[in-house]
Symmetry: C2
Subunit: 463 residues, 2 copies
């Protein structure tokens, strides 16, 4: 990469004032929610149109400048971190919903549309955008597509991938591709749309996306159930899945709940204390369905899988029950948690969790371990909390050792080292635990096809 | 490609008798359901294991022999036709279901498993494999994946793509890739699984697939509704979609129905004759839902969108109503139909259909045109019937002219020249109507990555 960037030339490609190089902007736009790398971009550029994005990419090719895409910067893998003098392309000014079609239930979004903005737009139209997660208030559609964001409704609605009807991307050569044209059925060769989803901006940048909406769910109702041990959670999932179309099936441990209750602003679900809790949700669209849910609950109690439980009777109660799960991540941030986002097939979860638990317990009995996650999808969030007394650096170094053991276990269970957070830079050196050498070689060759000069978010996913 | 194939060497790679070169086998295994190309393979080889497939691909690389994969050969785009001395790799002996997991609702299939075999297996387990279409009794899982098969339940369940949890493929270099490991969430770089789905065997061959199953639908119920004109069908779709989770929304014209009724073995849905008919299906899992359906039907009648209708009251009636739609393709095969399988976004269907109708009407007023298809997905099957007196060659030549006009209209409506039949050889020369030059160039570059010697089903999708 060149030492002296032709920033003046870059400024001519966008509107006045849309290239920033001040220290505060470089600091802000150079990082995501991870804290491992010091941000060090050369400049931040804010395109306002697809043509401007194309010009920026052509400029970057001409001068061999690396570009890093920037959305809501809520990522947890440092995929949107610019730590090596890159130019950050921030989509803050491409944040409009540009079209809506009620018959097709489709919304054309610029990449900078905030997830919550899309959810709200759908609601205003009497429809539903079902991809939801804790950072929905800041994350952007382009970033969601880049990481194929998942979240809390995957068991019913799938990942972001399922909701992308069409995609406009600018490749590493500055070419604009219009992928899939928003069609439901389109068997005309390789579906390049799916290649760009989850590619973390390494093949090109998403500059427009047509997202599909669903009908609004009817009378969403949640249950929180306390189980006597972890092994009871899976039969509970199985029992409910056999009776109802679940819209969510989450779990959290007593330790995670304790942190939430200590805040004092969220009520306990019920008095009985249990080591694990399941939160499930469904549409109680008819009385029959609500009765099925209660009958299944009773069956689970009879089987000894459930000790106590509660079902929401109002929207307020639904929200409160969800906060028990949704607010964990923010609440525990106080303890500088070391996060891992791993997955295995659902049937392997109990044995897998037991193995990981044993590893951490054996090696670091003084570390507090919190488990929670999207267990209906086999996705577990492992959080190791920093003891107050331990310096941050020492804590992270110890956790890095745990990392290797965790990933070895993931590999043994044929799982994923990153279920929904992506690879970015934080998981890059561990990619081999989830993907074979041959796969990684093919990925690199595909990158070379779309980004021959290696300017699109280099050093992310692989080196 | 070499003139003298080392067939004796090929024979050493598989079990005795598993290479055929007799005329009857070459004729049978060299073609699919299309009749445009004369089959001319050099040999047919039947591997029984993944390792044998790898050996065959390595042999083909060593001798620069082109390979054509062969499943149920029910394709309608000549993607599985061997017309140029290729060696056909037939998966008839890799036809076992090798594993099942009730918790994950997953089935590990060899590529030669018949679609119906998978459907039946799911049913036996109290579950459901939802991808269904007329050729389910012969088509194979590997072929379904190669063409990303769609069919009659896409509106609810999506294409084959949605049900592929994991994939083992042998690439053009003979490498075995194990893609996605059956995980629900796996954000570890490019999802190569999706690249192979719909690639028509041009990047590699599917040698094993883990397919996901769904819960069994409850009390499936169909309605056939007669509409006074085509324009009424879309408001009917919209009305029902707002009230019910439809599992199907199909349509057919009076001319298509007439052919079915002329057989004499399927009863008319009702006495009133209408120019168009919609067939919709839903789960009448509660009385409330059945009542919602009837109320919506009455609303449609009041609005003048529906003239008459019938709702199935038994499984037998459900089957009979489905035959009105499902048996069209087989019934009209008598008239040597010229088939087109095209799609646009659902909202554009009425104007699009009107335009195409006008083109065919104006140019060939003596041709009978039958419309039917998966209109809830924007997917129309246009069938032009051959007048008895017209010689086949002359008819096909005239239809080829229509083709160009049809595809120009598809392009104008931003649609697809192949909704679910694939490109193969029949649509290859028209690919530019649906995919840009840049996209086609990228597709070719991707093929070169996975199949550097161009031995995997060459000449399909593009040249």
């Amino acid at each position: 990469m060149s030492d002296h960037l032709p920033i003046e030339e870059l400024k001519t490609l966008v509107e006045p004032g849309k290239v920033l190089t001040d220290a505060a902007s470089l600091e802000t736009y150079g990082k995501d929610w991870t804290k491992h790398y010091a941000p060090a971009p050369s400049a931040i550029v804010f395109p306002k149109s697809i043509e401007q994005v194309q010009s920026i990419v052509r400029w970057a090719n001409a001068h061999k400048v690396a570009l890093v895409p920037s959305g809501g910067r809520t990522g947890l893998s440092a995929a949107a971190v610019a730590a090596n003098g890159e130019v950050v392309v921030a989509f803050d000014y491409m944040n409009q919903i540009v079209d809506f079609n009620a018959v097709d239930r489709s919304v054309v979004c610029q990449p900078g549309v905030i997830t919550e903005q899309l959810q709200q737009f759908a609601e205003d139209k009497g429809l539903y955008y079902p991809v939801d997660f804790a950072s929905a208030g800041s994350s952007q559609v382009g970033g969601n597509i880049g990481t194929n964001a998942g979240g809390i409704k995957v068991i019913r609605y799938g990942m972001t991938r399922n909701w992308v009807a069409g995609l406009k991307v600018v490749t590493g050569t500055g070419e604009l591709l219009e992928l899939n044209k928003d069609l439901i059925k389109n068997a005309t060769g390789y579906d390049l749309r799916h290649l760009f989803i989850g590619a973390e901006g390494t093949l090109g940048f998403v500059v427009e996306a047509t997202m599909r909406l669903d009908r609004a769910p009817k009378n969403l109702t949640a249950m929180v159930l306390g189980t006597p041990d972890f092994d009871s959670i899976m039969p509970v999932l199985h029992a409910f899945q056999g009776k109802l179309d679940l819209t969510a099936f989450e779990f959290f441990s007593d330790k995670a709940l304790a942190k939430i209750l200590a805040r004092g602003d969220i009520p306990a679900p019920f008095e009985t204390e249990c080591p694990f809790y399941a939160l499930l949700e469904f549409e109680a669209s008819t009385e029959e369905i609500a009765n099925d849910a209660l009958a299944t609950f009773e069956h689970c109690v009879e089987q000894g899988w459930v000790v106590d439980g509660v079902m929401s009777q109002s929207e307020q109660q639904l929200r409160n029950l969800w906060r028990l799960r949704e607010d964990i991540s923010e609440t525990i941030s106080h303890w500088t948690p070391y996060k891992n986002d791993i997955s295995v097939t659902v049937s392997r979860v109990p044995a897998f969790l037991r193995d990981i638990d044993a590893i951490v317990e054996r090696s670091y009995p003084d570390f507090e371990v919190l488990w929670y996650g999207h267990i209906g999808d086999g996705n577990l969030h492992l959080n190791i909390l920093k003891p107050e007394a331990l310096p941050k650096e020492e804590f992270f170094a110890k956790c890095a050792t745990v990392n290797t053991w965790v990933f070895e276990t993931v590999q043994r269970y044929n799982g994923s080292i990153s279920a929904e957070h992506g690879v970015g830079m934080t998981k890059r050196d561990y990619l081999g635990y989830s993907r074979s050498e041959a796969e990684i070689a093919y990925m690199k060759a595909i990158k070379a096809v779309f980004d021959p000069n290696g300017i699109m978010n280099p050093g992310k996913i692989f080196n």
